[in-house]
Amino acid sequence: MSEVVKKFLYLNRKAPYGTIYAWESLEVVLIGAAFDQEVSLMFVDDGVYQLVKGQDTSGIGMKNFSPTYRTLGDYEVKNIYVDQDSLASRGLTHDDLVQIAWEDWESGEERENIVEVVDSARVTELMEESDVIFSF
């Protein structure tokens, strides 16, 4: 069955753990992977905290779901964008973030890290380009 491929953009603006948004977004992304669409994730505002590496929730009795982000490349997520201004205003840099590798099983194409820090003009452009935006 031939299908129309749409550009899906998941917009993440909440910190992990304090609310359920980050976890819910991740769940929807993983479920949505089954539908063969072109999926991108965008992290803006407090959403950038979701990708901070080295999370250790052993002391707070909650599930640490951050390792799941590193598997997104295996779920057909091709692009992960992080807003530069949001990082900077929170005292964070690209080095604070997890790396997410991507590989196309058919073509063998590989990318070591699909986490890309972009400026706000590019964020706007990516939102404009997408067909559907899911907000979390």
Binding site: K14, A15, P16, Y17, G18, T19, D45, D46, Y49, V52, K53, G54, Q55, D56, T57, G59, I60, M62, N64, S66, S89, R90, G91, L92, D96
Partner: protein
Amino acid sequence: MSILHTVNKSTFERNSLESCFKFATDGASVLLFEDGVYAALKGSGAESQMKTALDRLSIYVLGPDFKARGFKEDRLIEGIKVVDYAGFVDLAAENDKVQAWL
């Protein structure tokens, strides 16, 4: 009358911390926990506000929440003290009352 103020929301999303600092009297204690801990991170836009507050308030961060979010203690703004859950209880007990800035 001593008060322990608690802040559990991100200072980048709500004005809880700002209001707390505005109304807290000199010498009061402020405990940052849950998403409130992000305000304790060195180099953020909240740092100057935090440094001004540290001149007149005792500021604490709940260690397990800071660690859960991926940060080690060397990322804390100087002057902020780390407490564990028992320390949280001690602070609550030492002060006459607790005021939560939700």
